[in-house]
Symmetry: C2
Subunit: 331 residues, 2 copies
DNA sequence: AGAAGCTATCAAAACGTTTTTCTTCCGTCG
DNA sequence: CGACGGAAGAAAAACGTTTTGATAGCTTCT
């Protein structure tokens, strides 16, 4: 059990046949007589022969492996992406190789560079801190898809409509003092959200208060910090967050400060991670279309792998509000 | 950008030198004259040469990669393991290759078998459904550590003491009607827990009610099911769960059935995942020693890789209760 | 009966490295 | 001045496969 693993040459010798015959018997690319084939398979089992992955990869120049780079698994949204991508890639007989970059920028670059040495056939970059161009640069000649950045995928996420939906909903429930915590994962979406915010308040003839926008970083801590900042400034009746994680942070802050949700403070998240349904009170949030985004991500990667063009046309994905119990009607 | 990646031969030709010289210049294993070296590095940059990972692996027979097999990332406990293992392996210059098996048994076996083809130097099996022996069998000659099973690691988790601590705590708070939801991840720990339970009730002269033990599967859903079963049978004042996920399920059931935690029902979890601190009310739970377990897991794997024996001696790890707000004093 | 065509197998080249051994060229020393 | 030794680089072998081309031995057809 501690000795060197058996090679194809070992089994060839054991049967008294050439290595190529063994290879053909395994792959079935040429016909091998039944008795010989039987003896070969016996020997394979006997010697516990397993073809060397690396030798095969070297010969084939394809590995059916896709590198997926992500910051941390403990981010529920990342975990959802990872699980989903694994399942989706499986449909095309690809397997993910997950690179955990941690939170450092260098480590992310390092991982992408590492993948570019032929280890994988393609890369999916889930790091928000690395732009599509940087990622492609780091990976050299192998195809990369950066699915976090909306611009890269032939799909459009209508953040403006979503923001308007949320604001309308909050407004209809009587909320006038609303804080917003941004998420770096949403990028362009974030900027536009602020624009919509300003416009919305202008339309309703309410002054826009810049201190009611807090720049978050997707972590629970920044949710806490955001809520703290708002209330230090002035009382708000609702906070909406660029992702659910930060909404959980707001919950946390509220609990510690004896502010009751939703009675004293309403909260809206974005993502609809499973935890948003189990937290108390269940979080009202917008459903991020994980399934569709994931499908499109791998579809796009497959196209790049096969050097196909994607059909032009864009697809608009809905991000419906899922109404649970974290927003109160105070009108 | 779409053309074949440059090889070491290409850079050798570009400089007018032999491939071995290039290799030596890169590795520094032999001294190469400064001007030649400079030209080589220029050419490398120019051609964007990256050594083929597979060719290197084939030659070296070591890859500094460790396969980690896990069911799903969305399980927060798994995510914690994954992040921790990645950081710990990094200390030894190993990188994890994560295999997502999903929930099917065959897929788990498949992943383990796949890893055994030289893809990785060693394997860490996090699948509770596969025993250490099965895992070693599937992986052939490469070292495997199955860290979920306590018996394999030179560390003992004192589940009996933990159970007693929990029961004493609950008892001191006045609880007499206590349900227990088991976790498959704890195995032997689970059985022993039930034993301790019986003993504890005997000592306190309370009849043991078998219907107050529910077999869970670590999912949120089984937490819901467990709570539902208990209350269908009779009222309990406290439930303790083999992991935090299932405790979240109990929260969920309580919310839906207008049972208030902790006023009407106390809950204790096990794991102390981050979410247990942010859920409302914050969950009282036992801290699973992730850091130590992870350290020992890779220590053990490193020993196997270097064919060293582990020093005998076992280490007892504490699992202290972290008291938050999910248990009420009803005495 | 000889050419042609199969069938089952073998031999060799190739994939891109690393490593060991072999050259060649100098300078130095006795 | 011949031998020796060191430096710098070249050449070749090896890692474990897959794939292509070659080679026997048989059938089959004309």
């Amino acid at each position: 059990m501690k000795k060197r693993a058996a090679t194809i040459i070992d089994v060839a010798k054991a049967v008294g046949v050439s290595p190529s015959t063994v290879s053909h018997a395994i792959s079935g690319k040429r016909v091998i007589s039944t008795p010989v084939k039987a003896k070969i398979f016996d020997a394979i089992k006997e010697l516990d022969y397993r073809p060397s992955f690396y030798a095969q990869a070297l010969k084939n120049t394809s590995t059916r492996l896709i590198g997926v780079v992500v910051n941390e698994c403990r981010n529920p949204s990342a975990a959802l992406h990872l699980d989903g991508l694994a399942a989706e890639l499986e449909k095309f007989s690809y397997k993910p190789v997950i690179g955990l970059a941690g939170l450092s920028h260098e480590m992310g670059e390092e991982m992408l560079r590492r993948f570019s040495t032929g280890l994988v056939d393609g890369v999916i970059n889930l790091l928000p801190q690395i732009t599509p161009d940087e990622a492609q640069e780091l990976c050299g000649s192998i195809p990369v898809v950066t699915n976090i950045r909306e611009s890269l995928i032939p799909v459009v996420l209508d953040y403006e409509k979503l923001t308007r939906d949320i604001l309308n909903y909050l407004w209809s429930m009587g909320h006038r003092d609303i804080g917003y915590i941004t998420s770096p994962t949403r990028f362009e979406g974030d900027d536009r959200t602020v624009t919509v915010l300003k416009k919305f308040f202008a339309e309703h003839e309410i002054p826009f208060d810049g201190k009611l926008v807090f720049t978050g970083d997707d972590s629970i801590e920044s949710g806490i910090a955001g809520a703290a900042q708002f209330f230090a400034h002035r009382k708000v009746t609702a906070i909406f967050c660029g992702n659910d994680q930060m909404a959980f942070g707001v919950y946390r802050w509220a609990f510690e400060n004896k502010v009751s949700i939703p009675a004293d403070l309403s909260v809206i998240g974005f993502d609809n991670v499973p935890q948003s349904a189990t937290i108390i009170p269940p979080l009202t949030t917008a459903r991020f279309p994980y399934r569709e985004i994931i499908e499109h991500t791998v579809k796009l990667l497959m196209a790049k792998l096969e050097k196909r063009q994607m059909p032009p046309g864009k697809m608009i994905l809905e991000m419906p509000l899922v109404i649970r119990h974290s927003v109160a009607d105070i009108s």
